[in-house]
């Protein structure tokens, strides 16, 4: 997990993506976790699994950066979902 930060960025978004099983949600967390965020001072994201749900917590300096960052993560989640769908 990322280190705890003392400053919180003003724009936040919480998303939950339902998977079929808890282990699928865990897989998604493991796949998403390694990639570094390009501008950590402007944008953070935390991935976690809550049962079969993938939880995404975003923080950002402004809504534009938030929108771009969220949509890129969602694209990755779509790829993971499609891969799991096709090969499970």
């Amino acid at each position: 997990m990322k280190s705890v930060r003392d400053t919180q960025l003003p724009h936040i978004l919480h998303l939950e993506v339902p998977f079929e099983t808890a282990s699928q949600a865990q897989t998604a967390v493991k796949v998403l976790n390694p990639d570094p965020i390009l501008k950590p001072q402007d944008f953070h994201v935390r991935y976690s699994a809550n049962g079969p749900k993938l939880c995404l917590d975003f923080e950002s300096v402004d809504d534009r950066v938030l929108r771009v960052g969220v949509s890129s993560v969602i694209e990755s989640v779509k790829t993971i979902l499609e891969t799991i769908d096709e090969f499970t």
């Binding site: 897989t27 998604a28 493991k30 976790n33 390694p34 990639d35 694209e75 891969t83 499970t88």
Partner: protein, 385 residues
């Protein structure tokens, strides 16, 4: 001596299976290969004699309209749309019902465009976790080299790597593929592609292919349009040549009769055609490549050249290189055809499986982050002596 059998195949089988995923540029490739487990590989230097069997080699290219290049975002979207389908198709072609039989999943770690690389690695990680198969991250350039060595059986060639994104002259020494010369600005394939864009001709199927076809129509091969010849020591520069030849072609299209190179100053008659320009550009660029390749051969005392990368399909480049090699003592040129020259999944599987057999698989998913910059000489080549 090298032991390529350090890691044995899964489930006590007598062969290895590897899946290769390539997506560093506009081509998405999926390949599945098989290596037999042979006693001779336990103590030898035979990494170019793996007795490779290709079970599947499929590719889908993101094609842009003539006059346009491919942008990272759109290319990544193409890869995301097709990746899973291509893997499914490759597994069917290879007759693999249980993907967990695979020994390893190899993906391109870099160099290349960030977004397309990332779109493929996300799928690679998911597959690895689903099937419980270890990952191997492969340097794209090393993939080309190992593919070329296995196909042509060239033992220790000087490698000329020419593609849309790279131009390097490489030779092996002490566990590294060392870069002897390279481009200082743009790649040769990029130079040819961008000129093709100016001419509004497509870039399919490989960089410079349509320029090559146009150059064949050149009727006046004795007269070369003079272009800058920019070899800098062992390196090359090509952006100036591109700028110059672009401006020439614009003068040609606009019928700018003031340009004395292109039009007869008295009669205004056109002296040079687009084909002539293509021919001269190719001759000029390839002569530069041949020059630095020859110098690298002299350095390492080798008489073999292996041409890899998308521009390596160019027959004229192969001819020019062959004539240089003939003039040297008994030299040989090895080149492969478009199945292997152009980016593909098999080459990633080949280099990745060699790495895997040396016990070099990814232990932690944190080591699977892709990188746009990844030099050929950063890779430790454990599988050669």
């Amino acid at each position: 001596m090298v032991n390529l059998n350090k890691v044995l195949p899964r489930n006590g089988r007598d062969y290895y299976l590897a899946l290769g995923l390539e997506g560093s540029a506009n081509k998405l490739g999926v390949g599945i290969i098989k290596h037999p487990l042979l006693p001779k590989h336990a103590d030898s230097d035979l990494s170019h004699h793996c007795e490779l069997e290709i079970l599947a080699n499929i590719r889908d290219t993101y094609v842009t309209p003539p006059g346009e290049g491919f942008l990272p975002r759109d290319t990544a979207r193409h890869h995301r749309n097709w990746a899973v389908r291509l893997v499914r198709k490759a597994l069917q072609e290879a007759g693999i019902d249980h993907p967990s039989e695979l020994d390893t999943i190899c993906f391109t770690k870099g160099p290349g465009m960030g977004a397309p690389l990332h779109s493929v690695v996300v799928m690679a990680r998911t597959l690895s976790l689903l099937w419980d198969v270890p990952l191997v991250g492969v340097n794209h350039c090393v993939g080309h080299i190992e593919m070329g060595r296995e196909i042509t059986k060239a033992e220790n060639p000087v490698v000329l790597y020419v593609s849309g994104g790279n131009t390097q002259v490489i030779a092996y020494s002490e566990n590294r593929y060392r870069i002897f010369g390279e481009t200082l600005d743009i790649a040769i394939g990029n130079c040819l592609d961008r000129f093709a864009r100016t001419l509004k001709i497509p870039n399919e199927p490989s960089p410079g292919y349509n320029i090559e076809q146009l150059a064949l129509k050149c009727t006046n091969k004795d007269y070369l349009v003079e272009l800058p010849y920019t070899v800098k020591g062992m390196d090359l520069s090509m952006s100036g040549i591109l700028g110059y030849v672009d401006s020439l072609s614009k003068d040609l299209f606009n019928h700018n009769t003031k340009n004395k190179l292109l039009f007869d100053p008295k009669t205004g008659e056109q002296l040079v055609t687009v084909s002539d320009l293509c021919y001269s550009l190719q001759e000029n660029l390839f002569a530069m490549l041949v020059e630095i390749t020859e110098r690298a051969m002299a350095h390492v005392n080798s008489n073999q050249v292996l041409i890899v990368g998308g521009v390596g399909c160019n027959v004229r480049l192969q001819e020019m290189m062959a004539s240089m090699c003939r003039d040297r003592s008994n030299g040989q040129v090895h080149a492969t055809d478009e199945r292997f020259c152009i980016d593909n999944g098999v080459m990633i599987a080949q280099a990745g499986l060699l790495q895997y057999r040396m016990g070099n698989a990814v232990q932690d998913l944190a080591d699977t982050v892709v990188t746009q910059k990844f030099r050929t000489d950063e890779v430790y080549v454990a599988w050669r002596e």
